[in-house]
């Protein structure tokens, strides 16, 4: 059976191919068959009316936590992949800090099997840099790649040993895998729980200086230069990090970087505004207004390649606690588009640039399929209503967890349909 899908009348934004205008998108046999202004429609085609909407390549999230195996009460591969589809994400990269961690092929295979059964967004596992994420010995990069891992990361933890990081960057070259790094110097972080500044002082919470991130980014850029390894900086949150990455790229270094919606939209003062609400606690922490400005500039000028959610589900058990002891992280798959669109509409970056950073930007960073509506590309498509106003209720969403700073907030812009391999995985038929 080869059903043909026509998505008609929408504004097609496909930065990979320089397309921005009303087009018809035709999907057939799992791939993009055609994108054109006037396409003749066969009588048996399934038609989706996208007038007033945007039609883009399905979003790609380089950074999410699906919690399976081990913490299925927070999220499973199935619920996470479904939440992704609801947010317009047709591919997600699943972080390896599961229980047990994904430093071996059995965990990778389990994730892939669960994802295949779920039939929602595509799930690409990331493997660990170090065995057990202990920062001591290298994990088996070759085995992990063969099993299906697309990147290596000890996310949640920095690789504190510069020597190990150097060897990891070198060794990964053999397998052409990017090393995605969570950058913080743990000695500088200490017992910090939010960004260090006037707000942390007012709230009496221990601060984490922006320099904790900067020094590690600078270290790893130097190591990438030494080794020729492929470095990807995760969840950039400081002006210093943006500047360091921009300078490194000017020098020709092969480094990519991502930024989260919350680091583009929220500032440390919001922790005070929310009265110690632990749904404003994450790592890296919400930074100063100046850091946020730098991140927005970094996304606008391409220094930051991708918007990644760092979707980090936690239950009330980890969150309904004192700020000091609550877990880091927020969910973000279902709100990312609306939150970033809100930032774009302040004039921080163009809508086109935003879509680029959600599609071809991340695809190129990790060498993933998709992110484009080129003929023959995977038929992964998001249909978005950029004017839809909605109130976000995490309990009504697809994620198992509810830890979002946007709970009960009014948002504008929402994914209405998502297709993966020409199959509708989200939205009304």
């Amino acid at each position: 059976m080869s059903e043909t899908i026509f998505i008609e009348g929408g504004r097609v934004i496909d930065p990979a191919n320089g397309v921005d205008g009303v087009r018809t998108v035709v999907l057939r046999d799992g791939v993009v068959a055609e994108v054109g202004e006037r396409v003749e429609r066969p009588g048996d085609a399934r038609v989706f009316d996208a007038r007033g909407k945007w039609v883009t390549p399905g979003f790609i999230d380089l950074h999410c936590h699906l919690r399976e195996p081990g913490q299925e009460y927070k999220e499973t591969v199935a619920t996470g992949a479904r939440a992704a589809a609801a947010g317009g994400f047709t591919s997600v990269v699943a972080m390896p800090n599961t229980k047990p961690v994904n430093d071996n092929t059995s965990v990778t295979e389990l994730m892939l099997a669960r994802a295949a059964a779920a039939g929602a967004a595509r799930v690409y596992p990331a493997g660990c840099i170090s065995k057990g994420q202990n920062g001591e010995e290298l994990a088996e990069f070759g085995e992990l790649k063969t099993a299906g891992c697309v990147a290596l990361t000890d996310d949640g933890k920095p690789v504190m040993s510069a020597a190990l990081m150097r060897r990891a960057l070198e060794y990964a070259r053999a397998f052409k895998l990017p090393l995605a790094v969570h950058e913080e110097d743990l000695a500088l972080v200490g017992k910090g729980v939010m960004h260090e500044g006037l707000t942390s002082t007012r709230l009496g919470l221990k601060g984490i200086p922006g320099a904790a991130e900067d020094v590690m980014v600078l270290r790893d850029l130097a190591l990438a230069e030494l080794t020729g390894g492929r470095l990807h900086i995760q969840h950039v949150s400081t002006r210093g990090a943006v500047r360091a990455i921009r300078d490194a790229r000017k020098r020709g270094l092969q480094v990519t970087a991502e930024v989260t919606p919350h680091h583009l939209a929220l500032v440390d003062e919001d922790v005070a505004g929310a009265g110690y609400d632990t749904d404003f606690k994450m790592n890296p922490p919400l930074r100063s207004a100046d850091d946020v400005k730098a991140c927005r500039e970094g996304l606008a000028d391409g220094t930051l390649d991708a918007v990644a959610t760092d979707h980090a589900p936690h239950s009330a058990v980890e969150k309904d606690l004192e700020f000091d002891v609550a877990a880091n992280g927020i969910i973000g798959l279902e709100t990312a588009f609306a939150v970033c669109l809100g930032v774009a509409r302040t004039g921080a970056f163009t809508e086109n640039r935003l879509i680029e950073a959600l599609t071809i930007g991340p695809a190129r960073a990790f060498g993933l399929p998709g992110g484009t509506l080129a003929k023959g590309a995977p038929a992964d498509v998001a249909v978005l209503d950029p004017a839809l106003e909605w109130s976000y209720d995490p309990a009504a969403g697809f994620s198992k967890s509810r830890n979002s700073p946007w709970k009960s907030k009014r948002l504008v812009g929402r994914c209405t349909h998502a297709f993966v391999g020409a199959k509708l995985v989200h939205g009304e038929k």
């Binding site: 009496g204 606690l321 004192e322 000091d324």
Partner: protein
């Protein structure tokens, strides 16, 4: 109620009038403490739970005596464990305590924001007895009370706070309280003990003690916590004492004759204060302790359903 407030958690949220409401009532409360029979029936039938997650003798005793003088029943609940190690969350603990129908929960906790979490979880009034490095509102009020009592007024007075400002909830409550009452606050600390963004709190910053106390009407010396040494915030207490400690010679040469010296206690004798200064004529440290009871009586009275706050305990149940 204290003004608009059902709880006493952060002086940053209090207006001048609300601060004065407590301070003025504390004057009458202090008078009660000087009677031969120190007992009034104002809070008879009310119960107060002192929930202390951090060691404290002085503050807990002060709240306990304040409650007893007002005829309230006080129960002390001490836990050295945080919720994580204890296996019961803070929210569960206070919901259990609330089921015992207290009118006020007084809480001290090592985490900034914990009293706010408690206030959101229970229906009764919540008084912070200090949370992390956030605030210690009753201490801020008793400091203001003491300075006002000793100097006659706070208007235009210069108060220098010396010590580990970065970890001090006392300094924060003072900087949110004293300026609203007309005083000017200065901070003096080694740079490693000055918090981020301190310059924006409205207090001029000094690293040099002599400059910081020049012309001051009151000097508040903070306790240097032993765990900060080698943190590495300061090399050792000897060096700290030499540059930021106050002894009789410095006091005589640098302080105005009328300048008073405060300390929230407990004192590290020989570190931030030499014994002759701690026990000397300028020291109002023991007045602070006595005034602490009066101020806490005023807070409990206003929040536990004294005249202005009838039925406070049942309002706004979550």
């Amino acid at each position: 109620m204290i003004g608009r407030h059902k709880h006493c958690i952060a002086l940053a949220d209090y207006s001048r009038e609300e601060l004065l409401q407590v301070l003025d009532l504390a004057v009458s409360m202090k008078e009660v403490l000087r009677r031969p029979i120190k007992k009034v029936p104002s809070l008879r039938g009310k119960s107060i739970i002192n929930l202390f997650f951090e060691a404290s003798t002085r503050t807990r005793s002060s709240f306990e005596i304040a409650a007893k003088v007002l005829s309230a029943d006080a129960l002390n609940w001490t836990s050295s464990n945080s919720s994580v190690t204890k296996g019961e969350t803070l929210v569960d603990t206070v919901r259990n305590l609330e089921a015992m129908r207290p009118d006020v929960i007084v809480i001290r906790h090592q985490s900034g924001g914990a009293p706010k979490l408690v206030a959101e979880s229970v229906g009764c009034a919540v008084v912070s007895a200090g949370d992390g490095a956030h605030e210690h509102p009753s201490q801020g009020l008793l400091d203001a009370f003491t300075i006002r009592e000793k100097l006659g007024s706070l208007e235009g007075k210069v108060v220098t706070i010396v010590g580990d400002i970065s970890h001090s909830r006392v300094a924060r409550s003072n900087v949110h309280c004293l300026p609203k009452l007309g005083a000017k606050v200065r901070f003096c600390a080694p740079p490693t003990m000055m918090p981020a963004g301190a310059a924006e709190l409205g207090a001029p910053l000094f690293y040099d003690l002599r400059e910081a106390v020049d012309g001051a009407d009151a000097v508040m010396m903070l306790r240097i916590q032993h765990e900060r040494i080698g943190d590495p915030l300061i090399p050792n207490t000897r060096e700290y004492s030499r540059y930021w400690g106050l002894n009789a010679k410095k006091a005589a040469e640098w302080l105005k004759p009328s300048c008073v010296i405060l300390h929230p206690g407990p004192i590290n004798r020989g570190v931030e204060l030499s014994p002759d200064v701690a026990d000397g004529g300028r020291s109002v440290i023991l007045d602070q302790v006595q005034n602490g009871v009066a101020v806490r009586m005023a807070i409990l009275y206003l929040l536990a359903g004294g005249a202005a706050g009838e039925g406070v305990g049942a309002e706004g149940r979550a």
